[in-house]
């Protein structure tokens, strides 16, 4: 493999594959952009915060306490990260199991987004664990099989590997390793099927974590239906994230796609918008059934009830209707805006479950509000995630077919 030997005429392996065909100096220069300036500021604040957390512990760096053991590192980084990374599994099953070939070009970006989403959710979670260096314990040291969290830990780890397998063909195309690529292409179907099982279970399990806390979670959010709600909203999350992500990356990385046909993306976006609408309607009715099943109508006319109504009407029912309207009138722009609204809605839902409606019985002064370092760490992890995504997109054939290889059959 390559070394950094300087060659003015022909780029070395490293220059070709890592520095985008430039010399190291040119590559560094090409990185001086306004975007990277913002990133540099975030990292300059964020990395010391991460070190501070690791050296001084959770006490000084968070607002967590004995009554509020979980904050935004669980509620946002983990719950939202994993829900919004469901695109890989949704698009994977659409393409590989249902044979929707039209969506095949979304598979690689969705898998990559999914893989990175999970990876960085786990990285963020690590900072939340009191003894983060023991993170392999549930796998190798002691099995707490009665815990929903045990299921989550295993399934997230396994699913991460599944997505890695699905992503591998792109890596080996980048590295020009034909044999390895062929093996992993053959493994894609198996990984997709296994991934569907794992996703169904751990997406719903993330909600089932709260099944143990009927006395702490507000009745409007606590229900036996939590697993179903979390799964359904994750499916929608995967769809709307794919809409947002494909629109963004086809704009940002447009140069990479030779035969870029915006009409094709629009057509596919309309299809996804339809799926999102159906998913949101289904979710809305599941929520209503949960409300009726728990006889919780009385809570609707309380402050928490208003919050609940904002969530299920403002972020579920209205987007569902507008998605439908946009699909019928082929308003791709409206579909994309509604996708963003739905992403916000899913974040709102997960925060309601884990923070806002959690410990609702406590007096206001004992409630949790994130410490600034918790926010900075979260922003830093998300930023590093975006950087990684960008780094990979610039190098690997994610948005386009590698010219040296036969396209993957779907």
């Amino acid at each position: 493999m390559g070394t950094t030997a300087q060659s003015e005429f022909k780029p070395t392996w490293v220059q070709e594959n890592i520095f985008l065909g430039m010399t190291f100096k040119d590559y560094l220069k090409s990185n001086i952009t306004p975007f990277n300036g913002v990133v540099a500021v975030i990292l300059a604040i964020g990395i010391p915060v991460i070190i501070y957390r690791l050296v001084y512990g959770l006490g000084p760096s968070t607002n967590l306490n004995d009554n509020n053991p979980w904050g935004i590192w669980i509620g946002f980084d983990m719950l939202c990260g994993v829900a919004l990374a469901a695109g890989g599994f949704v698009i994977g099953s659409a393409v590989h199991l249902f044979g929707m070939r039209e969506y095949a070009f979304l598979f690689r970006p969705a898998v990559l987004t999914g893989f990175l989403g999970y990876l960085f959710a786990i990285i963020a979670l690590t900072f939340d664990l009191g003894r983060y260096y023991r993170i392999p314990y549930p796998m190798f040291v002691s099995w707490g099989v009665n815990s929903v969290l045990f299921l989550v830990a295993w399934h997230v780890a396994l699913y991460l590997s599944c997505q890695f397998v699905e992503w591998c063909p792109a890596i080996f195309e980048w590295l020009n390793m034909k044999k390895a690529r062929r093996i992993f292409i053959k493994a894609t179907l198996g990984a997709t099927i296994f991934g569907v099982c794992l996703s169904m279970l751990h997406q719903s399990a993330l909600g089932s974590i709260f099944l143990l806390m009927p006395e702490k979670l507000h009745p409007l959010w606590y229900s036996e239906y939590i697993p179903l709600w979390f799964f359904m909203s994750a499916v929608v999350g995967g769809i709307v994230m794919t809409i947002v992500e494909s629109a963004a990356s086809h704009k940002i990385f447009a140069k990479q796609i030779k035969d870029h046909d915006p009409k094709h993306l629009d057509r596919v976006t309309i299809g996804l918008g339809k799926a999102a609408s159906v998913g949101l309607f289904a979710y809305f009715f599941m929520k209503v059934i949960g409300l009726a099943h728990g006889h919780n109508w009385g809570y609707l006319n309380t402050p928490y009830g208003y919050l609940f109504l904002v969530e299920i009407i403002g972020f579920v029912l209205i987007p569902a209707i507008l998605f439908m309207y946009a699909v019928q009138n082929e308003l791709v722009g409206l579909i994309r805006s509604m996708a963003i609204v739905t992403v916000i809605g899913i974040i709102f839902n997960r925060l309601n479950h884990s923070i806002i409606a959690f410990n609702w019985h406590l007096p206001f002064e004992e409630r949790y509000f994130p410490h600034w370092m918790e926010v900075v760490l979260t922003v830093t992890i998300v930023t590093i995630g975006i950087l990684t995504f960008q780094w990979i997109m610039n190098r690997m054939p994610i948005l386009y077919d590698h010219p040296g290889f036969e396209p993957e059959k779907h």
């Binding site: 690791l54 001084y56 512990g57 959770l58 006490g59 000084p60 968070t62 967590l64 306490n65 004995d66 009554n67 053991p69 979980w70 099953s93 590989h96 199991l97 249902f98 044979g99 939340d128 664990l129 009191g130 003894r131 983060y132 023991r134 993170i135 314990y137 549930p138 040291v141 002691s142 099995w143 707490g144 009665n146 815990s147 929903v148 969290l149 045990f150 299921l151 830990a153 997709t192 099927i193 569907v196 099982c197 169904m200 279970l201 719903s204 399990a205 089932s208 974590i209 099944l211 143990l212 806390m213 006395e215 702490k216 036996e224 239906y225 697993p227 179903l228 799964f231 599941m286 099943h293």
Partner: protein, 312 residues
Amino acid sequence: MDANRRTFLKTLASVGITTSLFGARSAGADITSLPGYPNQYGVLVDTTVCIGCRRCEWACKEWNKLPNQLSLSEYEKDKAVFDKIRRTNENTYTVVNRFENPLDKSKPIYVKKQCMHCIEPGCASSCFVKAFTKRPEGAVTYDASLCVGCRYCMAACPFDIPAYQYYDPWTPEVTKCTFCFDRIVKEGGVPACVSICPVETMTFGKRSDLVELAHKKIVDNPGRYVNHIYGEKEVGGVSWMYLSAVPFDRIGFRTDLGTTAIPSLSKPFLSLVSPVFIVIPALAMGLYSFKHRRDVLEQQACKQALEHKEGK
């Protein structure tokens, strides 16, 4: 249990999984309705007796070698701590709180708080490394050598008992009352708090005997107690039970916890795991075969059409 099963079935049905799997699940779930270890110990706390001397707090710290220990006389002197309701924390496994007595304002009610040692502990079912164990003696013990520090146990505890050493950056532990496990496993051993109590607020013994004793006390002393033993049935029953002269919600107890054991709340979901791994791959492979067959047929049709054209 039945309500659980019903909702489980509904959930399952709406996920669209075939009815044939129901039987397999039901058998496992009934484990939760077992009464627990038959000979487990318990403590009956009679809140009508407690004088709020806080010696139990002192003895607890002494025996468990907890930080910030004061001399016994200082515990008895310091009445200012009662001004606010306290909870257990990383340095304190048990606290005594003072509540106003609605029957007689001159006689406040003191209530000791510590781990209730549930028959089916929520903390134990939440822990993904099995750091908590319900011992046959009744104690719920914690093994710090396994703990990863996820703090799910704290979230899952209906009594808000486990605390965390947030300010220890390297080896933080969850802390909670041990029921003086090291003392009660020995013949004649009694928890430190129970043995120091000067007025016998607490009675240590076999839990089943204590339930009987508590009922007898209520019957034998008409008007002294409300007719409820807190902890007899709450969250499936706990080892530490309380008697009170006033309704329990007046003295800091949550009376909305229900009688379902916390672990049984997640069991229906956990039992879905194996069905999903059986049904989904089968369904997925089925879907894939349809798709594959369709592709093959399409290709054949295409080929035939081409041949047909060339043949002409």
